[in-house]
Amino acid sequence: MVDASTNEKFSGATRYVLDDELASIVNISMALEMPLLLKGEPGTGKTMLAHAIAESLEMPLIVLNVKSSMKLVDALYQYDTLTRLNDSRFGDSSRDVSNIEDYIRMGKIGQAFTAMSRTVLLIDEIDKADSDFQDDMLDVLDQMEFDIIEIDKTVKARHRPVMIITSNAKKDLSDPFLGRCNFHHIAFPEPVMMREIIGVHFPGLDAELIENAIGTFYNLRDVDAVEKRPATRELINWIRALKADPDFKPERLAEGEVPFLGVLFKKSQDYRRAAQYIERRRVL
């Protein structure tokens, strides 16, 4: 298992531009078999990283989207009492009613543990859930096993999954939890990096369009007092929108015009501010 992990190294994927720093952190986390906790502005590719790792290492990806009401048990397994009740009443299924195990279904973490090959497990936006969720998860992370109380059975991980955990920093995570993870903060990409990212997403895109779009984009990111600044995701969607518009010409960006502003700014107040800013610049 250890050999497998050290031999395989992550070096980027077809749709993901990886900086060296992040690459070495991913590799170290895989070698240490520790979860990697990623923080960063929304839309900087935290979630995409897990997809990219799965693709490049050719491992199946299991995504656990954390919801605010989620309990850890939901992520581990589910005991389907209703089906069992139904079966005991009508008895027309192939399941054995007296065998509870037939009614246990694995949750996402359970699936990752019981998978036949090593998987990439993405726990997305862990900060959405209560702090109990993290606390309960400590044991599971440490031991790489959990108990199914109903049948008193311990599920051990066949292969330690490559775990990527993302957080939007809505809440601080607890210290013991952080202690078990490696940490990286994805900074917002520099324009040079951004050009590469756009290049990967839109191969063969007109150079003038790329230059003008990125220039306008970074300008707009500097607009003051904006609550949610546009990130990589918005830029990609915006360029997609620009490409789809047959009337659009790159020169129009250079002239200070910004079509589809709503793709970049999604809060009405931000939108208004950005629109004012553009208006002012055009007048000047």
Binding site: I28, A31, L85, S131, D172, D175, G179, N182, H185
Partner: protein
Amino acid sequence: MFIDFFYTLKDVGVPVSPTSFLTLHKALRTGLINTLSDFYTSSRAILVKSERYFDLFDQVFAHHFQGAELPDYTGVEFDEIARALLEYWLKEPEALADAMGIDESELNKLSPEELIEYFKERLREQTEAHHGGDRWIGTGGTSPVGHSGYHPGGMRVGGVSRNKSAVKVAMDRRYKDYSLSGPLTQAMMGEALKRLRNMVPVGPQDQINIDATLYQTMKNGGEIEIVFDRSLKDRLKVILAIDNGGYSMDPYVMVVQTLFDYSRAQFKDLKTYFFHNTIYSTLWEDPARFKKPQYIEELVRFGRETRFIVVGDASMAPYELMAADGSIHLEERSGRPSIECLKFLAKTFPHAVWLNPITSGMWGYTQTINVIREIFPMFELSIDGLEKAVAHLMTK
């Protein structure tokens, strides 16, 4: 290996743990770390758990591996005081020159930069902590220069202008933004707050009540009848009002920050307001107590079930509490004495407590604390006091 590095990190205040240090060594043995930059990225990922400390880590790393100077953190405080002195100097050169025992014309010759340097030098000469003297800069002295001079006659650095009485702190917009995270050290605090919950069934009936379902099914002679419940959710509303002004609260910043952190994580429905010394007709949503006022009459809409928690030292000049125009802030002139406002709040929210960071043994010595204790049940802002406060808040 790298033990010095580890301890330097610890000394400058990056929260590092021994376990993570061992993990780093495990990482070194994997053979994946071959260059200094590999070591940089992986040691940062393993040791540092928040981007808040990245900058500090960078500095220590540069210091340790490249021989860069570690910034002198004690210098920052000097800078701030010196700058405040400069501001003061610009407004009232005579008073300052007099207090420092130097000739005003001497200082006049200096440029602002030189002045700052000069002030810093004088500050360094003062080697001992200096509280309550009458000559030089310290906290709570009677010298006109420095933090919170003797109340009626004293002035505050940057505080006096526009020919208003020296008692009024009109210019003083000093504040601490407690909402910036503080160190999460006292996990006990979270434990104490956890008990403050009010579980009520809300939302659609989508939770299957298995016991009731089985019972009904048996009653029906095996014919399945599924019973649904609403799910239980914590719907406790909490209003937290924090005294974030004034130097008297400064020593308690850490503990209040911790309280704030935990309550933010704990309560779904938390409103935080700020005030200075005591509450008049408004509370403030922004820590600077400037932009977003909240009239206390409007708090009624939160309902009587809301838990109202005040954090403050409740120590002030008695007239601030009793007089109709008692506020030390000029713009606060509602004509209603603060004590009336406090009584109104206590009546509006039967579940209210006042948390006081001052140890309870000292309460008897401050008149305003005794008065406020009559209105709000007061508890010490300690784990013990917090537990008692929570118990009090949960009584029906």
